[in-house]
């Protein structure tokens, strides 16, 4: 027992006294180091989980597919064929490696730059295209803007445009899994910018207090639209905040596929077995613009972008590793790329020509059953269309 003169008996636990007045520094002497196992040339440094050929090749293929999909859809937007798009260029490793380390039962609560997780789980290129074109095949029934994918079947919550509002959702999902005693966790993603929102703080805090099995994966990509991280926060990134809330955390090289895979696997294990949240900060770079509504060359140097696009590209780095294992070749590469490209172009063509959702879908699913006021509003709209058919778009079935 400590003599009472040496500690403060406080609700929440004993706190030792000290007669030295010392302020804790606002920044550590050294920044928290970043876990990596593959060097810049794709050579294994050491450690990391042994990843078998099948998973490695699937990871690589999906990263390449994601990159190709982003390029083609981005161009489609530029051509005026879809209204909006957001790329994941530079962050493919975070998307795919984390997805590969999870199981299908782990419920994903995304921000918006994580379509790779859906891709890994089996969302088809046609489904991506349908959502971007908001046609009849869209799972969202044409109600959301492009890249707001969602799939209950694949345990991936529909993307909402609001920043960080999904973080408390993830805690709720984890709470639900905890109540059911499921062998699964919730996984949520957000960016460096999203970590400034109030919901981030409360979500971490709640997750710690409720001992909820949730993985918080931060894609620290250096930019929140035009705001660099130096204007976003003054802490040593996001990883140091974990301790502040009582959450175990790690900083990982977000462009190192193997390191990410290992870290997420370990984190998932801890989250479920120990029933606790884990924070993973993945350091990366947003190579593309924030979205098709942005031109990032206006606020950051072009050579910085190019450096990360080429020399630090996560896909090339991982390719070197799988090639050195004899699991990949340039023939396989060109075959994959041309197949995916063709599939995407076909998907776009088909999606573009597919009928849009029917008018009735504007009024369904607001509630479980269509209430009378919405029926009336639908009726009124249809009457208006009858009177002015020329003003109503011809490709929307009534």
């Amino acid at each position: 027992m400590w003599p009472s003169s040496q500690f403060l008996d406080f609700p929440g636990g004993k706190v030792a006294f000290t007669s030295e007045m010392r302020f804790i520094s606002e920044s550590p002497k050294e920044r928290i180091p970043c876990y990596r196992v593959l060097d810049d040339d794709g050579q294994l440094i050491e450690g990391g989980i042994n990843v078998g050929k099948e998973i490695a090749v699937k990871m690589y293929s999906d990263m390449a597919t994601l990159q190709t999909m982003d390029t083609i859809f981005y161009d489609a937007q530029r051509q005026g064929r879809i209204s909006f798009y957001l790329t994941t260029i530079g962050e493919e490793a975070i998307n795919i490696a984390s997805a590969a380390a999870l199981t299908i039962d782990d419920f994903v609560v995304p921000q918006y730059r994580e379509p790779g997780v859906l891709l890994w789980r089996g969302f088809t290129l046609e489904q991506f295209a349908n959502q971007c074109f908001s046609n009849r095949g869209d799972d969202c029934r044409g109600r959301q803007m492009p890249i707001h994918y969602g799939s209950k079947k694949l345990n991936y919550l529909t993307v909402a445009s609001t920043i960080a509002s999904q973080l408390p959702h993830a805690v709720g999902v984890a709470y639900s899994l905890k109540m059911d005693g499921k062998d699964a966790c919730a996984v949520t993603y957000f960016g460096d910018g999203g970590s400034s929102e109030g919901d981030f703080h409360a979500a971490l805090n709640f997750a710690a207090v409720t001992e909820a099995p949730v993985l918080f994966i931060c894609r620290n990509n250096g930019w929140a639209i035009s705001t660099p991280t130096s204007d976003q926060f003054r802490s040593d990134g996001i990883v140091v905040r974990g301790e502040a809330y009582g959450v175990r955390s790690i900083r990982v090289d977000g462009n190192d596929t193997l390191a990410l895979y290992s870290a997420v696997r370990a984190a998932r294990e801890m989250a479920i077995c120990e029933q606790r949240p884990i924070l993973i900060e993945a350091m990366t770079y947003r190579v593309g613009h924030h979205s098709t509504s942005d031109d990032s060359t206006k606020y950051r140097p072009v050579d910085e972008i190019e450096l990360w696009r080429s020399a630090r590209d996560p896909i090339t780095r991982f390719r070197k590793w799988i090639e050195s294992n004899g699991w990949w070749s340039s023939e396989a590469e060109s075959e994959l790329r041309s197949n995916v490209r063709k599939q995407l172009l076909d998907a776009i063509q088909v999606a573009e020509r597919t009928e849009k959702p029917p008018l009735v879908d504007m009024f369904t699913d607001v509630y479980d059953a269509v209430p009378s006021n919405l029926s009336e509003q639908e009726k009124w709209l249809r009457e208006t269309i009858k009177i002015h058919p020329q003003d109503y778009p011809s490709d929307f079935p009534l």
Partner: protein, 411 residues
């Protein structure tokens, strides 16, 4: 002193009980008026916190054409709350809420509660008292103070199979949760193409209390009424509090249940058998011929007090507690308007943008031809609620103003 609602007395009650097959509850739900009914109405006496007319030593006939109808899911049995055999049990409104909550938690293990101090403290108005002991503190979860976040947490949990009841310690605090309620709760069922449902209940005490200060006297129903995808109901009696709570929990849509700080101690005798109130229906409090008075929550009691004065002056007001704030029960309201041709709305919301404003618009749009006079809407003033007791009293509509309004309307 406590508010006492009693069943229909004397012969009227006997006639009713004989004609009711207690298994078929719809027989009770017809809107017939009793031919032998006197002009009577509930006299509400409440404890000191609701300062109403203390005249009348015992409460008399309760709301005559009371609706006991099914909600979406379960058939509930209900017998008339007749005064002859006095079935049922008496309780206070906050206990009725708890009873409804407890029954639903027993019935469905997915139902859970989250909010500040809802666990062992039992909630700021004791609605959740004892539940943490019974169900454990995971299922009755005390959250840190971050309304937006625990509302978000409830939404996330609802999307993956739970049925959370989210308590705002005071409704006004839920302004911090507006983002989650508007952008996610109301929206995600729609934007996900119907894939994810959000069967949450968001509830808490609101309205103008006794000198709680401006920040604790908010009327959130006005701010939330535009949000697509949510339903809003306001309870006003122990009977409908329990019924609406149960219906809200069983609903697949997100429902916001508005309680009033000053009504928690109302006492009433409610049936022992299980029952549910319909979320979209209004409640006929007092049928009449001269004027339709539409109200909800605490203002119902001011209206009924004014009704007593009006009856003495020879008026016959029809009082409807609209209960369902989104959507409005335009069926019952419309039938009433068609009968009386005059409408007075008495609400606690502020004048600008309140429930009364929307209701006025809805009635004008739909029933304009039946109106003999413009709709009159009595609301609170567009001021933050002052702390001084006398000033606070005059920010809300008082019975005297209701009487004057009816007199003017019926000229």
């Amino acid at each position: 002193m406590a508010t006492i609602f009693q069943g229909l007395r004397g012969g009227a009650a006997a006639a009713l009980t004989n004609s009711i097959d207690s298994k078929k509850l719809l027989s009770r739900s017809t809107r017939r008026s009793l031919s032998e009914r006197k002009v009577s109405f509930p006299v509400v006496r409440s404890d000191g916190s609701v300062n109403l007319n203390p005249g009348g030593s015992n409460a008399r006939a309760r709301r005559v054409d009371q609706l006991i109808t099914n909600a979406v899911a379960t058939k509930a049995d209900s017998s008339a709350a007749s005064s002859t055999s006095k079935p049922g049990h008496e309780l206070l409104l906050f206990e009725a809420l708890r009873e409804g909550l407890e029954e639903e938690m027993d019935r469905d293990p997915h139902v859970c509660v989250m909010g500040e101090d809802v666990g062992h403290y039992g909630g700021s108005y004791k609605v959740t008292r004892g539940l943490a002991d019974k169900y454990g503190d995971l299922r009755v979860l005390d959250t840190p103070i971050a309304e937006n976040s625990f509302t978000g947490m409830g939404i996330g949990a609802a999307m993956t199979g739970l049925r959370p009841i989210i308590e705002g310690m005071n409704m006004g605090f839920l302004l911090l949760a507006f983002n989650q309620i508007s952008n996610n709760c109301g929206m995600l069922h729609y934007t996900s193409g119907g894939q994810f449902t959000i069967p949450v209940v968001i509830r808490g005490p609101g309205g103008v209390g006794r000198q709680l200060g401006a920040e604790h006297s908010q009327r959130l129903e006005s701010y939330f009424q535009s949000i697509p995808g949510i339903q809003m109901v306001a309870c006003s009696t122990p009977y409908n509090a329990k019924g609406l709570m149960k219906a809200a929990i069983r609903s697949e849509n997100p429902v916001i249940l508005f309680e009033h700080v000053l009504l928690y101690n109302l006492k009433e005798r409610i049936p022992d058998e299980e029952y549910i109130c319909n979320l979209e229906e209004a409640e006929m409090v007092r049928p009449g011929e001269h004027v339709t008075i539409l109200t909800y929550s605490r203002m119902r009691y001011h209206v009924m007090q004014a009704a007593k004065t009006l009856v003495n002056k020879g008026y016959d007001p029809e009082v409807i507690d609209i209960r369902s704030l989104k959507p409005f029960d335009l069926h019952m309201i419309g039938n009433s308007v068609k009968k009386t041709h005059r409408v007075l709305i008495v609400e606690e919301c502020m004048r600008t943008g309140g429930i009364g404003a929307s209701l006025t618009a809805a009635i004008t749009e739909n029933f304009h031809d039946y109106l003999d006079a413009p709709i009159v809407c009595l609301s609170s003033q567009d001021v933050p609620t002052p702390y001084a007791g006398t000033l606070e009293e005059w920010t809300v509509v008082q019975p005297a103003q209701i009487v004057t309004a009816v007199e003017q309307l019926c000229q």
